[in-house]
């Protein structure tokens, strides 16, 4: 049963790439003053390292599980607060995540996995290599929660996929051609770049006045929105995989 060994290694490698890339985003964003979601990127750096350690024992950090739980608990509180703030009113900083709920679930999932990880059964292949992780009776009481989180995160990946082609004509709201055309003339518009989505075309800010559009065009571009989106998708898919393994 060598499959899960290399599969875990692939997922772990992907998580390390995400962690390194997100760390790079933090550095580049600071140096070039380009907006990025600092909280999301920071969380993904930590999550990437932690998940790689869970997937492959050789990559496990010497940090105790309790510390990881604390870190992700704080992350859950932060993103929970952001989600509540977003309900009260729009997020006013381009440096914070716009959609906190998925990252809240990611943090809760990390706490869940670390809580159950000591009870996880390490499946070893005939060659004695590290295999995938699975939980037997210890986690079965909460397996429905794991399934819910996995489905939510995979649903988030699908939602991100739906936003991946911002230039698709299907995305342009036909009801608001003026706004869409204005947006099309904003190659460096922060509004369009922030999510890589033409949804900004429906915003009052984008459609307000030529002066406002000009001002938005002068604002620094959001840092590599598609790469950010791909990182989020990779994170969601890997976490979904790990949660499925823990059912």
């Amino acid at each position: 049963m060598g499959g899960p060994v290399w599969l875990s290694a692939i997922f772990a490698a992907m998580m390390l790439v995400v962690a390194v890339y997100c760390a790079g985003r933090l550095v580049v964003a600071r140096r070039w003053r380009r907006p990025t979601e600092l909280d999301t990127d920071g969380a993904h750096v930590v999550m990437g390292v932690a998940m790689a350690g869970m997937l492959v024992s050789g990559l496990r950090t010497p940090l105790p599980a309790g510390l990881w739980e604390g870190v992700f608990g704080v992350g859950a509180v932060w993103f929970g607060g952001q989600a509540l703030r977003a309900r009260r009113g729009p997020v006013t900083s381009p440096w914070r995540c716009l959609h906190a709920a998925p990252h809240l679930v990611e943090c809760v999932a990390m706490v869940y996995m670390f809580l159950l990880f000591p009870a996880a059964v390490v499946i070893r292949s005939a060659a004695g290599q590290m295999g995938a992780m699975a939980v037997s009776s210890a986690g079965s009481r909460f397996s429905f929660l794991a399934l819910l989180m996995a489905v939510f995160l995979l649903g988030y990946v699908i939602w991100l996929g739906d936003r991946l082609m911002p230039r698709s004509p299907a995305l342009a709201p036909a009801a608001q051609p003026p706004a869409a055309s204005v947006l099309a003339t904003m190659p460096s518009g922060a509004a369009a770049a922030a999510t890589g989505s033409a949804a900004a075309a429906t915003t009052p800010a984008a459609a307000a006045t030529p002066a406002a559009c000009h001002a938005a065009a002068l604002a620094p571009r959001y840092l590599a929105p598609r790469c950010a989106l791909l990182c989020k998708a990779a994170m969601g898919m890997t976490m979904g995989y790990m949660l499925i393994l823990m059912l």
């Binding site: 049963m1 060598g2 381009p94 995979l154 009052p204 406002a212 604002a219």
Partner: protein, 322 residues
């Protein structure tokens, strides 16, 4: 400059709620496509579970050949043997294909290609992976997933195809193929479920009870409790249970021509009961490779839900003609 930044910030800040509004404004067909994409992605991830890399997986595929006509069973046995010999590579490929189908349907640029590929893939898996859902083997029962979960993916792909043959159809499923063909497909599908409810695989005294109790093994306690109690309640009641099931499916099948909304609510309730009887597809056992047929039947039912937008477009079309 500070004014510019402030404006840009406002623009960025508005994107979040606008995105939510955009999702809410997605047309119903696109929402159902995304739901189908999610099921494909979940299936792909389930296919990556360690169990599918074990020898038990090709054995399970080979077992599906049993009692099928020899001409159809031979390729199933052959493919199971091939998978057994190259299991790591082929199983990883199968899982990757399903993940790719899910992501492909999610991306607007590739939705047509992915839906088309999903039809071909589903038909292949229906034959080589599910042995035609036991339809030809006489083992098909709605409780064990007849007519085969994977064929429902193909049906959904056809009904959710991004074309507007009948833009004024009162439900999403009718837009791509036309309302009459869509209604006929509904009739055939649910009618076949009614038929399979009355076959010996369902009406034998312990058939339904035995199928449900088999699902309880390895499930979490709460689900095992539901399944074991349902199984004991239906013990030796196979005939009565199959008649009730068949009657319910027949009403659902024919009801699409009468009151679509109430029929679809009944269909959704039935799918919930079916999914519980199917042990939620065995996902919690670590051996489930898909979500089973019930969630797909629910998705299909939602595709027949009378949509306000369709009514609006119909009204607009009528007004335009006038």
């Amino acid at each position: 400059m500070s004014e510019n930044v402030a404006v840009a910030r406002v623009a960025v800040a508005r994107v979040g709620p606008a995105d939510q509004a955009r999702f809410a404004a997605l047309e119903p067909r696109r929402k159902l496509q995304l739901a189908l994409a999610l099921v494909w992605l979940l299936d792909g991830i389930l296919q990556f579970q360690p169990w599918t890399f074990s020898k038990a997986f090709p054995q399970l595929l080979a077992d599906s050949a049993q009692r099928n006509p020899a001409v159809l069973a031979a390729p199933i046995t052959w493919s199971a043997g091939l998978i057994g010999h190259h299991q790591i590579v082929l199983n990883a490929l199968f899982a990757t294909i399903q993940v790719a189908l899910g992501l492909g349907i999610a991306c607007r640029a590739s939705v047509k290609y992915a839906l088309g590929a999903s039809v071909a893939w589903s038909l292949g898996v229906w034959w080589f992976g599910e042995g035609f859902g036991g339809v030809l083997a006489g083992t098909a029962s709605p409780v064990n997933g007849a007519p085969g979960a994977v064929i429902l993916y193909a049906l959904l792909a056809v009904l959710l195809w991004p074309a507007d043959t009948d833009p004024g159809a009162p439900f999403v499923a009718g837009r791509a193929v036309g309302r009459r063909p869509a209604q006929a497909l509904w009739l055939v599908l649910w009618g076949s479920l009614a038929f399979f409810s009355l076959t010996p695989a369902s009406r034998a005294p312990q058939a339904i009870s035995g199928t449900i109790s088999d699902m309880a093994a390895g499930e979490p306690p709460w689900l095992a409790w539901i399944d074991s109690h349902a199984a004991s309640a239906l013990a030796h009641q196979g005939l009565a249970a199959s008649i009730v099931l068949a009657a319910a499916f027949a009403i659902i099948a024919a009801g699409i021509y009468a009151s679509a909304r109430s029929v679809i609510i009944v269909a959704l309730v039935m799918t919930v009961a079916l999914w519980l009887a199917q042990g939620l597809g065995g996902i919690f056992t670590g051996m489930g490779t898909d979500v089973q047929s019930a969630p797909l039947l629910a998705l299909l039912a939602l595709a027949y839900w009378p949509s306000a937008s369709a009514s609006t477009s119909t009204t607009e079309a009528v007004a335009g003609e006038a």
